[in-house]
Every structure is written in structure tokens, then in C-alpha cells.
């Protein structure tokens, strides 16, 4: 049994950081994120016999996590507590050729959080975690064509958000008790 445990640890635990990083941006609450990852790892452990050694462990784990996440519904799915507030009169038209490489991490992070859960999910998985469209289709249980169009829309939404950010700084207001 110990050997099986060691095997599972070497297969699954290297991905716990990635899982937690994505979980944090799905639940927006560190404790809930940890619960989600723990539940994911537990289910993976229990289903470890079905896992074929040498296959894509990371995609397998993420698929489990999203199954858990979607199953838990409104309990864990949340919005960020801070909501961007557009100051009046800042309707500067976005200029072409924005140099996104100069944006600081906080702005990028906020822009990502601003996205809808659907868009945020595909950006996290494809851009941040580096999954292919095929892997995304497997993880989210959606057709690959849907993955691609969702990703295109998400990228567009992200760029619009960032282009407006660089044109006019956003103010934030706290939104109490939003779940």
C-alpha cells in the first residue's frame, strides 16, 4: 500500500501547485480553494486504479477538479469581492498597438479576475497553465470547436479590458456579501 501511495504522490503532488493556483481564481476564497484541491486529490487517489501510468496526469487531475467544481454549484462558485467601477468621463477610445508587456502584474491579475467565469477558466487553462485545446476539451467536457471559439472570445474580452485599463485607470468599490 505504501508503494501505491508513493506512486500516487509522485504522479499527483507535483501538480498540486497548478491545481491550487487555478482553484484560487475559481473560488476567490483561499480556504474554499484548498478544499477544492483536497477533494480533487482525494478523488484522484480513490480512482488511482483507473489511471494509466505514463498518461497525462495533469489533465486527468484538472478534469477531476472541474467535475468537482461544477458539481458543487453555487456553494463554491463566486465572483471577486471587488468590482471595477468605471469613473464617468473616461471613455477614451482604445488605441491600437497597446504594449501589453509593460503592464504590471496587478493589472493583469485584476483583468483576469474581471472576466466571466467561463472566459477566465479557458484563459487560465490555455494561456497560464499551457494546456492544448484538446486537453481543455477533455478537462471541461466540451467539444474542441467550443474550446477554440470560447478561447478567442476570452482573449478578445481580456484585451478590451486591458486596453481600457491602459487608457483610463479603474477605481474599485467593495461589493459586500456577494457569492
Amino acid at each position: 500500500m505504501k508503494e501505491r501511495q508513493n506512486e500516487f504522490e509522485s504522479v499527483a503532488l507535483p501538480h498540486s501547485g497548478s491545481l491550487l493556483r487555478v482553484a484560487r481564481r475559481l473560488t476567490f476564497d483561499p480556504a474554499t480553494a484548498e478544499d477544492l484541491v483536497q477533494e480533487t486529490l482525494l478523488r484522484a487517489w480513490r480512482g488511482f486504479d483507473q489511471f494509466e501510468a505514463g498518461t497525462n496526469a495533469r489533465a486527468w487531475l484538472f478534469r477531476i477538479m472541474f467535475n468537482v467544481f461544477y458539481a458543487q454549484g453555487r456553494k463554491v462558485r463566486a465572483s471577486p469581492l471587488l468590482v471595477p467601477f468605471q469613473a464617468p468621463g473616461n471613455d477614451a477610445p482604445p488605441h491600437g498597438g497597446t504594449d501589453f508587456s509593460l503592464l504590471d502584474n496587478a493589472i493583469l491579475s485584476a483583468a483576469l479576475d474581471d472576466l466571466s467565469e467561463e472566459h477566465r477558466t479557458v484563459i487560465l487553462l490555455a494561456v497560464v497553465e499551457g494546456f492544448t485545446c484538446r486537453e481543455l476539451a477533455e478537462i471541461l467536457s466540451i467539444p474542441i470547436g467550443t474550446v477554440m471559439s470560447r478561447l478567442s472570445r476570452a482573449r478578445r474580452a481580456l484585451r478590451e479590458s486591458l486596453t481600457q485599463t491602459t487608457a483610463a485607470p479603474k477605481l474599485y468599490r467593495a461589493q459586500a456579501g456577494v457569492k
Binding site: 501511495q5 504522490e9 486529490l41 478567442s152 481580456l158 486591458l162
Partner: protein
């Protein structure tokens, strides 16, 4: 024929090598004639990289999670609790890697200022790309399937045999992807002997000639070479290809790689 809107949708998948051959060829054809779409693609690629750095670079502490699952696994098996060991933090590695990348970025920027526009940037970009993607193993989408690599090369107008021709002696082609150097798409192949790695970047030759000091002639091909940051960069051009080799050592691996490429292409 694709229009700019279609290309804008498909371009990121083109870059990651995920488009089928027909669509990849169509996107490629459009990009070669539409500089504004090329700039958009490059801007998108840069945004992707920045997003990845910003988010994947955030420190994350998995200690509690790992302790929890270890404890559950132990009790889940036979009801006996086994010893729990603490895993070393990966944060230190991340910080070190990021500062090294930052230094290299500054050097690359400085190099660009010296070398001027266009292909002058290609060595700085190649050195930085190799440092981040190969040496530091940042998460990237690599193709390691031989057929996929051949298809990717051919999609760029590079004969599929070319990248494999360099696999010789202990070094073999392990993975490949597309990337941007100096505002142009290059085919990036990584070769390894199991412990050491070097990168070779291929591109169908245009009218540009490469900067740098000519070092030697191999098979009548001129080899330029330079040291950029902590990387050695060596390059040459055949009638049809521009080739840039990068290794992260001063032992002359890049020159050796370029020589290998020159004799085999």
C-alpha cells in the same frame, strides 16, 4: 483566402501548432503579406507571455494541501497513520529563476538598443527565449511527436528533414514549437543528449542578412557568432534558410550546433 478577422481568431492556435495543415498554411500565407496581422499576433503572443508570467509566477503554498492528502491516504489505506514529511518549498527556485530572467531581459533590451532595429534583435530574442523556455523550463506547449514536428516545420516552408538532419551523435531532436524572434515567426527546435540542451531556430530566408562577426566557413556557409547575456549564439544562412543556434554554456555548444547544422543541411 483568409481575411484579417478570421486570422485574428485562429492566429494563437497557429502559433501553438494546433491548427490543421490547411488552415495553418492559410494563416501563414496571410501573415506573410499582412504586417498589421503579424503585429497583432506578436502583441497577442506577448500578452500571453505576460499573463503567464504574472499569474503562474504567483507564489502558491501547497503545504497544507499536501499534508492533508498524505494524512487521508494513510488512514484511507489500513487505518494506520504513517509519518508525514514536509516538501521543500519551490518558491526559492521561482524567485531565482525570475531574477535571472529579469537580468537577461535588461541585457537583451540593452543589446537591442546597441544593435538597432530588425534582425539586430534576433540574437537578444533568441538568447532570452532559450533561457526562459529551455533552461528554465517555463510551461510551454511543445510538440514532441515526430509527425507533428515535421508538419509544423513544413507549415513554415521548412523541409521536414531539416530539423531532424541536425540530430546526430548523442543529440536528438526532442521538442519543437513556433516562437517570435525580432518580430518574425521562427521554428524553434530543442536538441538534447539527456543532460545538456541546445536550441536551433529556423526560418525561411528573406532578404535580411544576419549581424555579427563571421567566424568560420563550414561547407561554404558563413557562421556568425556572439555571446549574449549568459548564452552563446551562433548562426548562418544557407540559400533557403536562416538558422540561429543557442546554448547556455561558454563551451562552444552553439558553435558546434551551428557547425552540425551547416554540414547537414
Amino acid at each position: 483566402m483568409m481575411d484579417c478577422n478570421q486570422v485574428a481568431e485562429l492566429a494563437p492556435f497557429y502559433l501553438s501548432g494546433e491548427l490543421d495543415r490547411e488552415r495553418a498554411a492559410a494563416v501563414d500565407a496571410h501573415l506573410r503579406s499582412c504586417s498589421s496581422c503579424m503585429h497583432e499576433l506578436e502583441s497577442q503572443a506577448r500578452l500571453d507571455t505576460r499573463m503567464r508570467e504574472a499569474i503562474a509566477g504567483e507564489p502558491v503554498d501547497t503545504t497544507a494541501v499536501e499534508l492533508w492528502i498524505r494524512a487521508r491516504m494513510a488512514t484511507d489505506s489500513h487505518g494506520k497513520v504513517t509519518a508525514i514529511s514536509r516538501r521543500p518549498s519551490r518558491r526559492r527556485w521561482l524567485v531565482a529563476a525570475m531574477s535571472a530572467a529579469a537580468v537577461l531581459l535588461l541585457m537583451a533590451v540593452g543589446y537591442r538598443v546597441l544593435m538597432g532595429p530588425h534582425l539586430g534583435r534576433v540574437y537578444a530574442d533568441a538568447a532570452l527565449d532559450h533561457q526562459r523556455e529551455v533552461v528554465e523550463h517555463e510551461p510551454r506547449r511543445w510538440l514532441s511527436d515526430r509527425a507533428a514536428i515535421s508538419a509544423l516545420a513544413e507549415g513554415q516552408g521548412i523541409s521536414a528533414a531539416a530539423p531532424f538532419a541536425i540530430s546526430s551523435g548523442p543529440y536528438r531532436l526532442e521538442r519543437a514549437r513556433l516562437c517570435f524572434l525580432a518580430g518574425r515567426v521562427f521554428f524553434h527546435a530543442v536538441y538534447t543528449d539527456g543532460t545538456r540542451e541546445f536550441s536551433v531556430y529556423f526560418r525561411v530566408r528573406g532578404n535580411d542578412s544576419l549581424p555579427g562577426s563571421p567566424r568560420e566557413m563550414d561547407n561554404g556557409l558563413l557562421v556568425h557568432s556572439s555571446i549574449v547575456g549568459g548564452e552563446q549564439v551562433a548562426s548562418f544562412q544557407t540559400k533557403t534558410l536562416t538558422v540561429v543556434a543557442v546554448s547556455d554554456r561558454y563551451s562552444g555548444d552553439a558553435l558546434h550546433a551551428a557547425r552540425l547544422a551547416a554540414t547537414n543541411l
